[in-house]
């Protein structure tokens, strides 16, 4: 399965931030949309960083200066980005090993942001894949055991 499968069922309207935006602005956006991170983009919509709850907590630990800082001051730079064609299994491994929870997805040609996926999205997609395979196998095995009896179970 590809990353694009996850993007297909998400709104293409992606909430982003710019480096010049204030940190309180970013906090407002995170709470308003109930999300854990914002991709920070330049004026071409290319990712230049990411600002997550974790970045904000880390900055808050330094004192109240946070509230007068910009997103660019505290964001994580050098963000790993993915492409819609990336394999979900591999991305799951990369995110778990690298211990990051959000992956901005860019168009491989233009490097423009096309989406963002969270580790939660990846885990859910993997779970659905396994569940789906299980249902299919169950249906087959049950029909084999008792042909023609309408024994196909629907998994509940």
């Amino acid at each position: 399965m590809k990353v694009s499968t996850i993007l297909a069922t998400k709104s293409p309207h992606i909430v982003t931030a710019t480096p010049e935006q204030s940190v309180p602005d970013a906090i407002t956006a995170l709470t308003r949309y109930n999300i854990g991170a914002l991709v920070v983009v330049d004026d071409q919509r290319r990712p230049v960083g990411i600002i997550s709850e974790r970045d904000i907590v880390r900055a808050a630990a330094q004192g109240p200066a946070l509230f007068s800082q910009t997103v660019g001051d505290i964001m994580t730079r050098n963000v790993v980005v993915g492409s819609p064609q990336d394999d979900l299994m591999v991305v799951a491994h990369t995110m778990t090993e690298g211990r990051f929870r959000h992956l901005p997805i860019v168009d491989p040609e233009s490097n423009q942001l096309v989406g963002i996926i969270s580790i939660g999205d990846v885990m859910k997609a993997q779970r659905d894949t396994y569940e789906g395979e299980l249902y299919t196998l169950q249906t087959q095995i049950l029909s084999e055991g008792d042909p023609g009896s309408g024994q196909a179970k629907d998994g509940d």
Partner: protein, 466 residues
């Protein structure tokens, strides 16, 4: 207004597309609402079950047993089937809004992804999905012609459609004659001259999309030897490193089977099925009369993306593979429904977790939902549509609870049916399907086959005496 979902005021739902996603959604709605929901299935074809009938390979009958669950749903008194009624052909979205509180689009992915290389439209080059629809007796594809006097065939892709096509081409008449393959295809394949089948993967054996059982089947064919080139089984350093870090069991099993094929001496069977890796077609070559005579392949190497996926990129090494028939199998793609927002990037209905979104506002459109391949793109097995459909139904139930539903003006089944019959005189209902099904099975029994399919609307009408 009293919220629908009670015995006096059932929730009325239209499910457009009677394939697996539609049935799993119906199942979830029936579990939530029992008799207090009315479900009307619409399908542009006269028969239900979508790709279970027209996609799943005829020699994979066990996979089709899922229709037993679907049949039980169709048999419920509060469920109806309107076959041969196409959305965008016989009815439109506005019509449905007048009849239902909620509309679910589960029409699947009806076309194939394009491969843009020179010569791709030469005679003898076909979409594999069309070949699949043809041998499965899809009424819209029964008149297609595939020139099986060809001796050498290439199948581009290593997904499950590619595997099905290669296997059907490699099987003998006797192996196929016990399946429910369409009669016209059985006859054409009986006279097939195909001797060499090449299945072409652009990445390496560790990245191939096929499953272990699919690849194992290819080693057990009556009249075809399976062949894998030993040099293409040597893992590149990136694949080897990734497998060491993340030793996925299914991948290891696939490699084990493929290595056995690479080491296996040919058994002298009349046909050969060769699985190639790390090659991409870059051009189809013309024989001078507009027909394919060969394919130019480039050897690929793998590189790792930032997120770790191994992707192919062309080297400077080329080869010519003589072939006279080509099947492109690089995936299905969804088609837009008139009046329903579409996301061109992924070839799906524009949606957020199954709620159809308005193009301008980006907000959900009241009462419209989607499930299955037209929601997420073509991925997974039949059962994958169950969690997918359940997730959409969860949104439908939450919106019902919040009162965000359509307000239909015509809610009697009789009024709807009268309206539909005016648009499409030849509607096929569930009773029609039961009769067709019984007739197909009876015809099959005479020949020792699961069924012999009717493959045109005219044939079906005649069988029903209409």
């Amino acid at each position: 207004m009293l919220q629908p979902g009670s015995p006096d005021n059932p929730l009325r739902v239209a499910i457009v597309g009677a394939g697996p996603a539609g049935f799993y959604a119906a199942d979830a709605l029936l579990k939530a609402h029992g008799p207090n929901v009315t479900i009307h299935f619409y399908d542009r074809l006269p028969t239900p079950f979508g790709l279970v009938r027209f996609g799943v390979a005829p020699d994979h009958q066990k996979i089709k047993s899922v229709t037993k669950l679907f049949e039980r749903i169709l048999a419920r008194p509060n469920v109806r089937f309107f076959g041969n009624v196409g959305l965008g052909r016989d009815v439109n979205v506005e019509d449905l809004r007048r009849f239902y509180h909620q509309i679910l689009y589960s029409v699947g992915a009806q076309t194939d992804r394009k491969l843009n290389i020179p010569g791709i439209d030469l005679e003898g080059s076909h979409a594999a999905t069309e070949f699949v629809a043809w041998y499965n007796g899809h009424p819209e594809f029964r008149d297609r012609h595939f020139d099986l006097s060809a001796e050498r065939v290439a199948v581009i892709g290593v997904g499950n459609v590619a595997m099905d096509v290669a296997r059907i081409l490699a099987k003998s008449y006797h192996e196929l004659a016990v399946t429910d393959i369409a009669d016209h295809a059985l006859e054409a394949l009986r006279r097939s001259k195909v001797r060499e089948i090449f299945v072409l993967g652009r990445r390496g054996p560790a990245q191939a999309a096929f499953t272990p059982p699919e690849i194992k089947e290819l080693g057990e064919l009556d009249v075809a030897d399976v062949r894998v080139l030993p040099e293409e089984m040597e893992l590149d350093p990136l694949s080897a490193a990734q497998l060491e870090q993340n030793p996925d069991k299914a991948t290891l099993r696939k490699l084990e089977i493929l290595r056995e094929y690479a080491a296996r001496p040919p058994q002298g069977k009349p046909r050969t099925l060769t699985i190639r890796f790390l090659v991409s077609p870059v051009e189809l070559l013309d024989d001078g009369s507009g027909r394919v005579k060969a394919m130019r392949l480039v050897r690929n190497e793998l590189y790792a993306t930032a997120a770790g996926t191994l992707r192919p990129r062309p080297t400077q090494e080329y080869e010519i593979l003589p072939v006279d028939l080509v099947f492109r199998s690089i995936g299905y793609r969804g088609l837009p429904i008139p009046g329903v927002p579409f996301n061109e990037s992924w070839g799906v209905i524009l949606n957020d977790s199954g709620r159809v979104l308005d193009e301008e506002s980006g907000q959900p459109r009241v009462g419209e939902y989607t499930a299955g391949w037209i929601k997420r793109g073509p991925s997974g097995v039949i059962g994958t549509n169950k969690p997918d459909a359940v997730a959409t139904v969860k949104q439908m139930l939450a919106d019902l609870e919040a009162g965000k539903i359509l307000e239909p003006t015509h809610t009697s089944d009789a009024a709807i049916e009268a309206f539909l019959r005016e648009r499409q005189p030849h509607i096929f209902n569930y009773q029609d399907w039961k009769r067709l099904d019984a007739l197909e099975v009876a015809r099959g029994q005479e020949q020792g086959r699961p069924r012999v399919k009717f493959t045109s609307v005219e044939e079906m009408l005649a069988a029903l005496g209409r």
